[in-house]
């Protein structure tokens, strides 16, 4: 029996085989989508760049070359993306910057998703006054423009990449809570939830074991699609000088630094901009593809 037969069998013989088979089917459906595969490739490249940065970056990202001769050099073989006003190699800075970008994206997703899921499913499942209280709190957070609220947090906590992450996470959970609540409302009265209650399952068991798995896929899709926005918000905070602090090679801060010479030395602001563009596009394509395979309603 080949491996794919073992995975796709209609008669799995263990829990593990059933779960792996299901994952393999999802992957086969995902693989059909060319654009989603491109998105996945971009995201994997970002991951590889972040991990391998110390070995593949040609120059030091923080200390530049000779300030008299190597400032603001246009793209060349020695410096494929040119150098900036402190004679630092922009390619190396973009590569090292992928670490910061990935850290922001991963931490925001890890903080915001559980908060949104927990609040949304709890509100939707219990209803009544619990729903009212939780959703009004969510509304309050939703009413603030995201960047402005993040600005306020950073202003209160002090600038820095860690505080930017906390600020973005605190402002990005409300849409997930709304989404999870909407999903929960459609399933809370379904027969399989009633059956679980009839078996004497506790509320926590139903929320965690029955409701959350069904909300998870649409929330994951939404988070992936939001990654682009998170990167842009982080870059925006960096651009305003409230995110990563110099000399950290954060892409938004690099654009802010290149702004002064954008007419004569276009590459300084353009190269990190291109990186932000590519990564945002990658996450968007990946999210779209994930929606096609994960969202039960989109499935035929």
């Amino acid at each position: 029996m080949t491996r794919s037969e073992w995975l796709l069998t209609e008669h799995p013989r263990s829990r593990r085989q059933a779960r792996l088979g299901q994952a393999w089917r999802t992957w086969l459906a995902f693989k059909e989508n060319r654009l989603a595969m491109l998105g996945l490739a971009i995201v994997l490249t970002l991951l590889a760049l972040a991990v391998l940065a110390p070995w593949i970056a040609p120059h030091n990202p923080l200390t530049g070359g000779d300030l008299r001769t190597e400032r603001l050099l246009p793209p060349s073989w020695a410096h494929p993306m040119g150098t900036d006003d402190l004679a630092r190699d922009i390619l190396s800075r973009v590569i090292w910057g992928s670490q910061l970008t990935l850290m922001v994206v991963a931490l925001v997703a890890l903080i915001a998703t559980p908060i949104g899921l927990a609040i949304g499913t709890t509100a939707g499942y219990f209803g009544g006054w619990i729903d009212t209280v939780l959703m009004r709190v969510t509304d309050i957070f939703l009413a603030f423009p995201r960047l402005i609220l993040a600005l306020a947090f950073v202003a209160a906590l002090g600038p820095g990449i860690e505080n930017a992450i906390i600020a973005i996470a605190l402002t990005s959970w409300p849409p997930y809570a709304r989404l999870a609540r909407a999903e929960t409302l459609t399933i809370r009265n379904s027969d399989f939830i009633s059956a679980a209650r009839l078996q004497g399952a506790s509320h926590l068991r139903i929320l965690w074991g029955h409701v959350t798995p069904l909300c998870l896929s649409s929330v994951i899709v939404r988070v992936t699609l939001d990654m682009a926005g998170i990167i842009l918000t982080a870059a925006g905070l960096g651009f305003l000088g409230l995110g990563a602090q110099p000399p950290q090679p954060e892409w938004g801060a690099m654009i802010a630094g290149g702004r002064r010479f954008i007419i004569d030395h276009w590459w300084v602001a353009t190269m990190p901009g291109l990186a932000i563009f590519a990564v945002s596009l990658g996450f968007n394509l990946l999210g779209d593809g994930l929606r096609d395979v994960l969202d039960p309603k989109a499935r035929k």
Binding site: E10, H11, P12, R13, S14, R15, Q17, A18, Q22, S190, D191, F192, S194, A195, A196, R197, L198, Q199, G200, A201, S202, R205, G209, H210, P213, L214, P296
Partner: protein, 251 residues
């Protein structure tokens, strides 16, 4: 003393009074039917019994336990339910194994492996189905899983809410025969809700006819077969169940 005693049960959802004063007593080992048209409140009686609908007024006693708002763990072990739509009553992301092991985990059973295999065997599915997902099963197979899930806690009472109305005719007979066999093997008590008089006549010794949330009359299986009903509504229901008769034809 009856195993299940329903006295003057009222169920209201806000303004809507779904059930208005229904009484019934079901003895141990009996199979009791509730029939009526859509919206007559027959399913609501079952849901009130198992705690999915509120008991607004009246008293319900199951195995000498008066039912309040919260049900005890012992109640859940004694009373289980099979739902109407097998496509909606199984969690789409849980394997059959998970569906069957969860009630065992909740109630702390030790020998889960053997119980799951035995339950699958009893409903005629076999161990090959254990790690499948519901979408890999047909409607009849799903309903068998739902029956296995209800029986795995070894309840004494099984509430059946139109267990076959979502299945096609040949599968219906299979599932009904399975339910019949399980009842005689285990001495179960059934309360079966259906709009299908033929199903109720096949399964139940006694039945209650309901209309607009009220009990119309109680019949035995023999009087149902003899078509000797006292109330006009029951007679109308009986003649409707005989199907379409062309005008002018003599029955």
């Amino acid at each position: 003393m009856a195993l299940i005693d329903i006295r003057d049960l009222h169920v209201s959802f806000g303004e809507v009074q779904a059930v208005r004063g229904v009484s019934a007593a079901v003895a141990e080992g009996e199979s009791y039917g509730i029939v009526g048209e859509s919206g007559s409140g027959k399913s609501t009686v079952l849901r009130a019994l198992c705690g999915l609908a509120p008991i607004t007024a009246g008293a319900v006693t199951v195995v000498n336990e008066p039912l309040g708002r919260r049900r005890s763990a012992a109640f859940h072990r004694r009373v289980q339910m099979v739902f109407q739509d097998p496509y909606a009553s199984l969690h789409p992301r849980h394997t059959i194994d998970r569906v069957l092991s969860e009630p065992l985990a909740i109630h702390g059973f030790a020998d889960r492996e053997s119980r799951i295999l035995q339950a699958l065997d009893e409903v005629g599915l076999g161990a090959g189905f254990r790690f499948r997902y519901p979408h890999q099963l047909s409607g009849g197979q799903r309903q068998r899983v739902a029956i296995a899930r209800a029986l795995i806690l070894e309840p004494r009472v099984l509430l059946l809410d139109e267990p076959t109305s979502a299945l096609d005719a040949s599968i219906q007979a299979e599932v009904l025969n399975l339910l019949d066999r399980l009842r005689s093997e285990r001495g179960l008590t059934y309360i079966l809700v259906s709009h299908d008089l033929a199903v109720v006549a096949h399964m139940c010794e006694r039945l209650l006819v309901m209309q607009h949330g009220r009990a119309v009359e109680e019949l035995t299986r023999d009087s149902l077969r003899a078509r000797s009903a006292a109330e006009a509504y029951t007679r109308a229901l009986l003649s409707a169940s005989e199907g379409y008769t062309p005008a002018g034809a003599t029955p």
